[in-house]
Amino acid sequence: MKVSFPHMGYSPIAFKWLLENIGHECIMPPEPSKKTLDLGVRYSPEFACIPFKILTGTYLEVVEAGAELILTSGGMGPCRAGYYWVMHQYLLEELGKDVKVMAFELPLCDLKDFWKKLRYLRKTGGVSAKEFVEKVKITWEKIKAIDDLEIRSHELRPLETKRGETTRKLDLALDMVDQANTSEQIEDARQEGLKLLNAMTLDKSRNPLKVGIIGEIYVVLEPAANHYLQIMLGEMGVQTDRSIYLSSYTRKNTIVNLEGDIFKMAQPYLNEAPIGGHGVNSIGETVLYAKHGFDGVVQLAPFACIPEIVAKSIIPSVSRDLDIPVLTMFIDEQTGKAGVQTRLEAFVDLMEYKREKKFSKEESLVI
């Protein structure tokens, strides 16, 4: 069957491999472009959030390319994202497209339904259960390798001496992961990729600003949706730490996972969890980044995102209490790259100024 899925960051590499190796034909979702967004805006409800619109556009593009089945995620609310698939199915039917949107609800909520859908995928692909499990495991390895490489690139980019070199090397490394077919090959590709990144000429004398990226999962994970914000910041000489990676849940070494319950962190400010999406996480993560001595936090959210609006109204208090600057950016179809860049530059200036002031104060104390 011709199967497709939403585009999210660098993850399509892994999902494409999975689909092709369980006997389906993968219709690769294109990276969201102007055309995707135009299509999405045209056919989506006016106030739908930007991830919804981008997905509508992506779906229309993959249907054009022949997709018969679209895989996506469900949800238990109260974030709108859990209802996306129902609306997308309605919208695609209204447009006369013959395609099925299949959503995997949380296994926690409906285990039976989850197994049924996995079984369906396996049967239509024609692989044995054992093979299927093995392929899923390898896919997971791929996702982890991709995230490892990406994390490293964000650490190194602010130190690069040739502008754009990190991005080029990362592309090469990701290609290697793309070519890998077994767990061993993936591990090799990961090592090779890291070596490639580490071998760049770096200016270690720099002391880059450190910024945490928080917010709604889609606009945080999809660079095309946030105008390549992390790369932009990196090239301005800022080290970024992102709160969400697809493999986050199994990671022990990221800051967000270090301190246990993120909801507890947010409790003094928002005494209710969850409120859907990453609303509470955003507040808790701001607290965490402040505690870990970050210079600032950028909150990314789609325009009219319900949980992030709640978070936004509360974050100024966190920012005041813990003395950490927070830049909130609501992204919609009107957001332009130059606008994002200008705001980031101003934000970086502010953080630099703040740091200088802190250092000069410390120096004067020493004397």
Binding site: F47, C49, C79, L91, E272, G276, I309
Partner: protein
């Protein structure tokens, strides 16, 4: 004896009779904020986070209106009132969940906020604890709270029954709270048209927010039907015909009621009232529209309101819609 301020918006239209009776039985004075006005809206726009939807901004305005006049502001954290939805996880809109914190952290110089958590997923019994918690906070003995809760529940039941007799909340509220009042409705006895007006209670019943939509309809001799005039059981039956229920209490009511009214032969049209930048409504509105076209031939009008909506604009659209309905009836 304390003065308790209740903002006249959001859940007010659904549960005010309960809280009014409860607090006055305990010997406290209830102060309701003034009806929504330009001044309240302006205050709300100033205080609330700029990306919030208009009802949330208005809520901030109502709180500002009460501040300085009362000892406590009653802003319960409405989490859920029933177990519903595909996974039994129905809640109110996330903004309701974070409302007490939003208000507390974005406004200054507020009296203490009573932010009890109302979560009745595990059954109505949980309401006892909510009431007792308020009693403890206000210094009322347990026994008193119990009897106050009982009386309040009875009044709320009476209010819900009145709504089901197709009386609009304004009148139903007065009737439920005045002992011995006989039910009477200002709805037309021999209506020219019957229209289902659906949406959230705080958009439909707030005359300022929807610039007098209901009075425009009354003048045109239209009888108004809303989701609050239906029993939960009736609506839930229709909810089962959807691929998946929504996650939000008020949205589920609006959508399920739409499906019910589509099946009623005497309804002439559907009006959906939606607020600008309302998150859930971006899905609700399109879903209603598509289902209306799929399940019936009824005309559907969506009225979006924001802080700049003018009366003439809404009036023109509604009048055109009504003309169209009448024309359609003649040609059928």
């Amino acid at each position: 004896m304390a003065k308790i301020g209740i903002p006249r918006t959001l859940a007010y239209f659904s549960y005010y009779p309960f809280w009014e009776t409860f607090f006055s039985q305990l010997g406290h004075e209830v102060v309701v904020s003034s009806p929504t006005s330009k001044a309240i809206l302006d205050k709300g726009v100033k205080e609330a986070v700029n990306d919030a939807c208009i009802p949330i901004k208005i809520y901030h305005g109502h709180v500002a209106d009460l501040a300085g006049r009362v000892d406590f502001i009653f802003c319960p954290r409405m989490v859920s009132v029933r177990k519903y939805g595909d996974f039994g996880t129905e809640t109110f809109c996330p903004k309701f969940l974070g409302l007490p914190d939003m208000v507390r952290l974005s406004m200054s110089e507020l009296p203490p906020i009573i932010d009890v958590r109302v979560d009745l997923k595990q059954g109505r019994k949980a309401m006892d604890q909510v009431c007792q918690e308020i009693g403890r906070l206000l210094g009322n003995p347990e026994k008193e709270v119990e009897s106050a809760q009982k009386k309040a529940t009875a009044v709320q039941k009476k209010y819900d029954r009145l709504l089901q007799q197709e009386i609009l909340p304004d009148e139903a509220m007065t009737m439920a709270l005045t002992p011995g009042a006989t039910p009477q409705s200002s709805q037309p006895v021999q209506p020219d048209l019957k229209i289902a007006v659906l949406g959230y209670p705080y958009t439909i019943y707030d005359h300022y927010l929807n610039v007098g939509l209901l009075s425009i309809l009354r003048k045109e001799n239209v009888k108004v039907y809303t989701q609050d005039m239906l029993r939960n059981k009736t609506m839930n039956k229709y909810g089962q015909t959807l691929p998946k229920n929504m996650f939000w209490y008020y949205s589920n009511r609006a959508v399920n009621a739409t499906l019910y009214y589509l099946d009623r032969p005497d309804i002439d049209g559907i009006i959906h009232v939606t607020a600008f930048a309302c998150g859930p409504d971006s899905m609700v509105d399109r879903l209603m529209e598509i289902e209306t076209h799929r399940r019936s031939k009824l005309p559907f009008l969506s009225v979006a309101i924001d802080e700049h909506t003018a009366e003439t604009g809404v009036r023109t659209r509604v009048e055109a819609f009504l003309d169209m309905l009448r024309y359609r009836r003649e040609s059928l």
